[in-house]
């Protein structure tokens, strides 16, 4: 049912969308858990309001990057009606492409000495 789409059509992602994908890459989560995960990863720097978060979730659902997960990771502890979201294969691809794009940007920055050596060093050794 899906037409062949290029992941690059959707780049660049907004920081919020990218963070949602990052949070879901670590496992299926509901909205509250996504916020918490985001806060943890960014040390509190990223804290979207609930309205903004769900507007973004809606958009990611529309774009087919994420979907509502049929599984309940922990059915005992959670309200049955809670919605968990998970990354689609396409979403994973888009997130990876975004990460690649960011890495290239860091490279460019490193070339003009905007990034400490350590980062570029490890980056080069991996590639």
């Amino acid at each position: 049912m899906t037409r062949k789409r290029e992941t690059h059509d959707l780049l660049p992602l907004t920081p919020l969308s990218f963070h949602i994908l990052l949070a879901l890459a670590g496992g299926d989560r509901h909205g509250y858990a996504i916020i918490k995960e985001m806060e943890r990863k960014t040390g509190g720097a990223m804290r979207p309001g609930t309205g903004t978060l769900y507007a973004a979730i809606q958009r990611l659902l529309d774009d087919g990057l994420i979907e509502v997960s049929p599984d309940r990771p922990n059915p005992e502890a959670d309200d049955r009606r809670r919605k968990y979201y998970r990354l689609t294969a396409f979403g994973r691809g888009v997130a990876a492409a975004e990460a690649q794009r960011l890495r290239r940007l860091v490279h460019l920055a490193a070339e003009v000495d905007l990034v400490p050596r350590l980062v570029t060093g490890s980056d080069e050794s991996r590639s």
């Binding site: 309205g51 903004t52 769900y54 507007a55 529309d62 774009d63 919605k83």
Partner: protein
């Protein structure tokens, strides 16, 4: 289950409001996410409350409300894009590049439209921005003050565990009695519920020599633990580690250090002279250390007083830090036991009259004790103002949305989506919010500055007062949410309902539905009611202020200069030396050019020095132990004439009334009337202490008018003036100079006159008496100003409300009015009818307001002076003022109505 018990859930939740606002979202979003958004919101709300308490919660709420507004906007944009773009992608339903441009174009056109609307109705915009600004500004300003002074914890580590421990003397009705050092030491040694205990005492002024002559600075005594409890570290050096006075240590404030010692850091460890003694500086405190308040500039060990080791010498205030596991009740119970044990062990000092109980209160409660009521009243008043502002905005938005009903209906009929219409409303509210919020922020900063300038010195923690960003964000969000709710919901509703009907009806002119019209009138009437209530409160306070200002304090303050001179015991140990010093100083002061008369007194009105004791009147026995108190005031020279205190009977003192002559006194009218009513008190005798005391009989030689010692409105107690020659204990006296004109030029000559006889003496508390009198009214003046400001804001807001309703009704009835005028109605009658309808609205409000006021005025009772809470003239004046304001507010729409040109009104068809 027990979540509520561990204080996990916030006491107030905005979940319902949030849920209500989500309803503005597009249908698809609501169906899919409303439940999740709601759950997430409430979980975050709980988290935030647990982590940061209610200030964080306010911040969170305002963030969420604003976020929701912008998210709703975005959702509607998305929705539109989905619907109108070409579905060339079966999976997503749209292509991105294409729609992004389309969205931007739509958004820009909407923004333009919103701006145009704002431009088209400047009256509405000005009114809305004013309402928002005043509401946000006043509420934020007042809340910031309450937040800083009352709500926020004291700026010490573990401030919530700090308590004050007082001795109580129930027989004297005394709750906060000081504690002696030995008792404090025993409390500290025996307590288990408190982690640490410290003691301090204020009011130990010290003399420091300096380039401009000796200066007196305020000092406090403290135990070393005090600085630890307050989490204060010295900027330089260290705090003294012992509390004996023998070591002669001193800690300097940052201010004193910079002022007197040129911020010289080598001062630590060096000796400095305080009065006659030499003290070693152990450290300098940082600039923000102000304890007990900003007046204090140096600290000495707690036992630097002579009688420190006497158990009966009570001079310390005790502060404790509760151990983490104990409550204030535990500590109270424990200290009661300790106090009882001590009373048994030391019956002479700790039993009987010197005994009594012990009372613990939170340090915070102690600090805010005097201002709590006033500030809570202010907060309640401010909440009312915010309420008026919201009601006003709601009313205005409602009328406006109805006025635009037809336009909206037409555009809906032409295919504009609901989303688009809603988005427009949101953008429009957004413009208003930005402008209103800006004005409100500016106002709140101004109001807080005003508060700091005008606040009486009794208000604690003034240094901590600043605009509270969470409060600003919260009030802005509340006002905005209110505007959004009332501004966009009607748009939603109106774009949903039957277009044909709206168009048909709107073809004539928009009109309010009956129900809505009523609602708006009620909103306006209740605003008038609240404004009326507040104005009555302000009127009562202003009225008592005027009465206080015109009250005769019993002395004449004009052109009087006062200054205090205190002789140190070390250099003036003999009473004869004290007498000789003041006698020669008085002679010198009288001879100063520009001085008409001069006198001296131990206790100046409006000052703090005061001596009192028990007394017994000859022939009027009193039960032993219950003798009344009398104020004793040694004076010298022509004090009564200098102060303008009238002599009613008998004589003043002469140079004959010396130490070796018969003891004499001049009493005040209150004392004369109490003991010798209708008789001549001269020649009568009284003595200090009980009937069997061995102090000598004092003969009354004169009676003077009462002096309101503590300022206008204060009570007058029996008072006796004594000749200084017969009251040698007074080694600290105020010089009073009566000048012909301005007394400012007398300051320097007076100082020099003092230094001529003793160059090491500081001349302190140099003030114009008139200034002191003015300051004594700072508190009532402040209260009247505060309530007056808010009443004015409320009145202005409700006037805008009345204006808004009438302007709208005139606009919508233009055709009807035109028709009437075409049929011969006179301009003046049209004018009168509109003003009358405004007055009718106001009348309901005023009636309700008067009722509220009679019920609420009791709160002010303790702040009123010589005026009843139900003072009829005040009520009448306020009712009249409100009526005049309402009439003015209706006048402009009325004029517009009377200028309706009949032809044009009809042609508009």
């Amino acid at each position: 289950m027990n979540r509520r018990e561990d204080r996990g859930d916030p006491p107030i939740s905005l979940r319902r409001l949030h849920r209500l606002l989500i309803r503005v979202a597009p249908h698809r979003f609501r169906a899919e996410h409303a439940h999740e958004v709601d759950r997430t919101f409430s979980e975050l709300e709980r988290d935030v409350y647990r982590a940061g308490g209610y200030p964080k919660l306010l911040l969170f709420w305002s963030g969420e409300l604003l976020d929701l507004a912008s998210a709703l906007l975005r959702l509607h944009v998305n929705e539109r894009r989905l619907r109108f773009s070409q579905p060339d992608d079966p999976a997503t339903g749209y292509t991105h590049k294409h729609t992004r441009q389309g969205t931007m174009a739509a958004l820009i056109s909407d923004l333009r439209r919103a701006l145009r609307i704002v431009r088209r109705g400047p009256g509405f915009v000005v009114a809305a921005v004013l309402i928002l600004g005043i509401g946000i500004g006043a509420t934020t300003g007042a809340f910031s003050v309450v937040q800083a002074v009352i709500l926020s914890p004291l700026p010490y580590p573990d401030a919530h565990r700090l308590v004050m421990a007082w001795r109580t003397l129930p027989q004297f009705g005394w709750n906060r009695a000081p504690v002696s050092y030995p008792n404090f030491r025993d409390w500290r040694e025996r307590t288990r519920t408190m982690e640490a205990m410290a003691a301090y005492a204020g009011w130990f002024p010290q003399t420091i020599a300096g380039p401009d002559g000796p200066e007196q600075v305020q000092g406090a005594l403290a135990t070393p633990d005090l600085f630890r409890l307050l989490g204060a570290r010295p900027l330089l050096g260290s705090v003294f580690e012992s509390d004996t006075g023998d070591d002669r240590f001193v800690l300097l404030s940052h201010g004193l250090w910079t002022r007197r010692f040129g911020a010289d850091s080598s001062i630590v460890g060096r000796p400095i002279r305080l009065g006659e003694e030499s003290y070693t500086v152990t450290g300098v405190m940082p600039p923000d250390f102000a304890f007990p308040n900003e007046e204090y500039e140096l600290w000495l060990p707690a036992r630097s007083v002579a009688a420190a080791e006497e158990r009966g010498s009570n001079y310390l205030q005790v502060m404790g830090l509760l151990s983490p596991g104990s409550s204030i009740e535990d500590a109270q119970a424990e200290l009661e036991t300790i106090v009882a044990q001590l009373a048994e062990a030391y019956p002479e000092t700790n039993g009987g009259l010197g005994g009594g109980g012990v009372w613990l209160e939170a340090r915070h409660a102690f600090v805010v004790r005097n201002v709590k009521t006033v500030l809570w009243v202010v907060l309640a008043v401010v909440a009312l103002v915010l309420l008026i502002a919201c009601a006003n905005l709601a009313g205005l938005s409602l009328t406006r949305s109805v006025a635009r009903h037809r336009e909206l209906a037409v555009r809906a009929a032409l295919g504009a989506g609901r989303a688009r219409l809603v988005r427009e409303r949101l953008l429009e509210s957004g413009w208003l919010a930005v402008m209103g919020g800006g004005l409100g922020a500016a106002l709140s900063f101004g109001l807080v500055r005003l508060f700091i300038v005008f606040a009486p010195p009794e208000v604690p923690r003034l240094g901590e007062v600043a605009v509270d960003p969470p409060a600003l964000a919260f009030t802005a969000a509340v006002a905005l949410a209110c505007g959004l709710l009332f501004g966009s919901l009607p748009a939603l509703v109106s774009s949903r309902i039957d277009l044909q009907g709206a168009l048909r009806e709107g073809g004539r002119s928009a009109s309010l539905g009956r129900g809505r019209h009523k609602l708006i009138r009620w909103l306006v009437a209740s605003q008038v009611a609240v404004a009326c209530t507040l104005s009555i409160g302000a009127g009562l306070l202003a009225n008592s202020l005027v009465r206080l200002m015109s009250e005769d304090p019993g002395f004449d303050a004009r052109n009087r200069l006062v200054a205090q001179i205190s002789l140190p015991e070390s250099r003036y140990p003999e009473p004869a030396q004290v007498q000789a010093f003041f006698e020669s100083l008085l002679a010198r002061a009288e001879a100063l050019p520009g001085v008409e008369t001069a006198g001296m007194t131990f206790s100046i009105p409006l000052g703090t020095a005061y001596a009192s004791g028990t007394y017994t009147v000859e022939g009027q026995p009193w039960p032993a132990g219950e003798e009344p108190l009398i104020g004793l005031n040694p004076i010298r020279g022509d004090y009564f004439r200098t102060m303008g205190i009238g002599l009613i009977r008998g004589r003043g003192f002469t140079s004959e009334d010396r130490g070796d002559a018969v003891p004499v006194a001049v009493v005040n009218a209150t004392m004369a009337n109490r003991h010798w009513p209708g008789e001549d008190p001269t020649g009568r005798r009284f003595k200090r202490g009980a009937a069997d005391s061995d102090s000598p009989w004092i003969t009354v030689v004169g009676v003077v008018e009462d002096v309101k010692r503590e300022g206008p409105g204060s009570e007058v107690n029996p008072e006796a003036y004594l000749p200084h020659g017969q009251a040698a204990w007074a080694s600290s006296m105020f010089v009073v100079l009566k000048g012909a004109r301005d007394v400012e030029p007398l300051v320097r000559p007076l100082r020099e006159a003092v230094w001529e006889s003793d160059p090491a003496l500081p001349v302190t508390n140099v003030r114009a008496l008139e200034e002191l009198l003015h300051e004594s009214l700072a508190e009532p003046r402040f209260r009247a100003l505060l309530l007056g400001t808010f009443a004015a804001a409320a009145l202005l807001l409700s006037a805008i409300g009345v204006y808004g309703v009438l302007a709208f009704s005139v606009a919508t009835r233009a055709r009807e009015i035109g028709l009437r005028m075409a049929l011969g109605a006179e301009r003046s009658r049209v004018l009168g009818a509109v003003v009358l309808s405004g007055l009718r609205l106001a009348a309901i409000g005023v009636a309700a307001g008067l009722l509220f006021a009679t019920a609420a005025a009791g709160v002010l009772d303790s702040m009123l002076f010589e005026i009843e809470p139900l003072d009829i003239p005040t009520y009448a004046a306020v009712a009249l003022t409100v009526a005049v304001v309402a009439a003015l507010a209706s006048y402009f729409p009325a004029v517009r109505a009377s200028r309706v040109a009949p032809i044009e009104a009809l042609r508009e068809e």
